[in-house]
Symmetry: C2
Subunit: 438 residues, 2 copies
């Protein structure tokens, strides 16, 4: 245990609140990845980072070290690539709308996504509800696809920022996930390695987000924007509330269907709005629109025209999936048992709690109780109403999409608790977005 | 990595500053020792403990869990055992004086000791300067020896509090040694497992100690006393300054010789004084003296009578060593090269810096540069003077006991820096001891 004397010195310094240098952080990332620094020392360092934080320069240097641990993608200068990241929410299917929509507007969009994490959903789980769709593309295939159709929605590639993957796995089992510099450097290392010129970050806060309050979300957003700018990228963060689920569908096939609805010009207003906000910032950042207003009009028009839906069809086809689902969402796998949950009372529905809806969807099979569990793409919750209005007893509140009647019954209690009633008149939850430009 | 979900929850709770329960701490100690909880999770927990500390109840519970991880010794009710612990100093040979002295007074003394740690010396290294002496006794032999001669000076037995050994090894490489509850529970678990009825703790502070200031030392002392009382033992802590080395000898054979001098009624005043202070507290705690004054007179008389020296002879003989060294310390291994370091100047010698003397002794071969190194028992520094008096140029300040002339020359610079001069008249360093009774 005494063969790595310098790591104990670095842990000691971090423990005392000192900043490590760029070359020290590089040494840690490289040494851990190569198995030269044992995981128990890295774990102690991670907890010291969770305790003491990192300076801005240190966070940038860690991000650099993570990027430098693997391959990086470069895209032709005449084909700048955009990217987007969400810190995780409930019912967030925005990527499935935004990627084909911007590609239809001529903007190259390469989006690498993950699976569900904790109570939040993951774009890869959602996409896998589409029969046959492959998301695990090697870099050559990815490059050819992007050349051909201008977009991709794929899994995080393991050869990009591999030290981040290794550190994340260790953070997950050592209660060191919730560190702002570690979150920021982890997210941004993957984005930077994937080579995007412009990046929009959707940083969520509230009951259904990882960050409960807006201040924390804002601090994280500012750190991530600073990292991106430090690396010469155009970055903006959008702070978006996540108290109620986004849209009405929570569950993989249900969310894909809702994303398709939005691409056909329909779908819930909040999904549409967040798509337009994130998309117009990307258009301005990449120089394809002079103002946010111009960008928004252009995108709204595209949403009405169906070209985004056509691009999604193309993407599904190229990635080996059944692209007919875009024209006929009934081809998505249906749940065997659908049950309507009716309001037990007259009253003011204040809010539909995002975290409890996520929990109910998980109980129905849409999420994972533990890592490595399979998800049932057919299941989930579709809200019929959202908070902010008067409800009559017996009015349908939600549909439970379940594998069986028993499964549906088991999730009923959680689902019913998700509806928060008020004695006073209520209003719809505000959907204001704040922009962090660094 | 996902097979131990509850450990990540316990790390998370400690990270948030919550106290773990006794059964949770037991589960951690047992699980780590059995290899069921991986070291990276234990490392993260240790750093969280270093960050958040522990409540008093939690520290007691951890100590209990450490004790419960292995065997415990029990001694006959009519033969209560005393024990002593020092937090580590420079030139501290007190145990080698105190154990035979108290045994000569009829008090059973079972002392388990360690090797040198960092810049501080260890009683086991010192004892091994006595030709043939064995310190690694199994528990049966230890018990028989204690029955026969009433005392033992041996190595820490690995079957007592084994989880402490495992945790300590991990703390050492994860920069989590310097945590008060972890230090206190580690020390006290070994003392409690060894079955002593009364324990005196010598908690040192100053340049040559692990704790730089008295406040920290006092806090640690209070925590250790509380643990001991919580376990139903009689415990007192003595806060003792450690700015200058204790006594004049620093180095293994040199220190044994000095301990023998004290047992013969001579030796340096500060070693004699600390022996009388610690010993009289033990006598009062164990009920062999009504007052500290009575105890002190009895012990002072014994020091003059030579019965302590005779008991040390007996101890050495039973433990297989050459007991003739007590009557003839010249039989201890001599250094091949002894060189006198003379004062380069007239002036007021303010202080002899304990840490630099320890460093010089280490450079002469008396300590370890890294774990597992052998020590050269012959080498070290013998101070001719201590701080607090006027010195003339050319006056001998210290002897360097070295393996060779080269080795002596190599340590000269460090040695010379250890002598701190003042422009103003100076006084001897105070040796006041404060008592913490909890």
């Amino acid at each position: 245990m005494s063969t790595t004397p310098s790591m104990v010195v670095l842990i000691e310094r971090k423990k005392r609140g000192e900043a490590l240098t760029a070359s020290e952080l590089q040494w840690i990332c490289h040494g851990y990845l190569e198995g030269e620094i044992p995981d128990y020392q890295v774990a102690a360092w991670l907890m010291a980072v969770r305790w003491r934080g990192m300076t801005g320069a240190e966070t940038l240097a860690l991000t650099d070290a993570l990027v430098g641990s693997g391959r990086t993608l470069e895209w032709p200068a005449d084909q700048p690539v955009v990217d987007k990241h969400s810190t995780g929410g409930v019912g967030d299917k925005t990527s499935i709308v935004l990627v084909p929509l911007l590609a239809a507007a001529g903007i190259t969009f390469v989006k690498m996504s993950g699976r569900g994490l904790g109570h939040t959903g993951g774009t890869i789980d959602k996409l896998e509800a589409i029969p046959g769709l492959e998301t695990d593309l090697d870099l050559d295939r990815l490059r050819r696809q992007v050349e051909r159709i201008g977009c991709a929605l794929v899994s995080q590639n393991q050869s990009l920022a591999p030290a981040d993957g290794a550190l994340y796995a260790l953070r997950d089992v050592t209660a060191t996930v919730d560190s702002e510099p570690l979150i920021a450097s982890s997210v941004m290392s993957k984005k930077l390695a994937a080579g995007a010129r412009a990046i929009v970050l959707d940083v969520k806060f509230g009951r259904g987000a990882f960050m409960a309050n807006e201040e924390e979300a804002e601090a994280l957003a500012a750190t991530m924007v600073a990292i991106g700018k430090g690396a010469g990228r155009k970055v903006r963060a959008v702070l978006s509330p996540m108290d109620e689920p986004l849209g009405q569908a929570v569950g993989n096939a249900l969310e894909v269907r809702e994303a398709i609805d939005v691409l056909h010009g329909g779908g819930p207003a909040d999904v549409r709005e967040l798509t337009l906000v994130l998309g117009s910032h990307l258009m301005v950042l990449i120089g394809c629109a002079a103002t946010l207003g111009d960008a928004r009009s252009a995108l709204a028009q595209l949403l009405g025209s169906g070209v985004g839906a056509a691009k999604l069809e193309e993407l599904i086809q190229v990635q080996g999936g059944d692209s007919r689902v875009v024209a006929d969402p009934d081809l998505l796998p249906p749940a065997p048992h659908v049950e309507v949950f009716e309001s037990p009372q007259d009253g003011w529905l204040e809010r539909v709690d995002a975290r409890l809806i996520a929990q109910a969807a998980l109980e129905l099979g849409a999420g994972r109780r533990r890592k490595g569990d399979a998800v049932d793409p057919r299941t989930g919750v579709r809200l019929v109403v959202k908070g902010g209005r008067r409800i009559a007893a017996g009015e349908p509140l939600a549909e439970m999409h379940a594998a069986s009647e028993d499964a549906s019954r088991a999730a009923l209690e959680t689902l019913s608790q998700a509806f928060r009633w008020s004695d006073c008149p209520v209003h719809p939850f505000p959907q204001a977005h704040r922009i962090i430009e660094g």
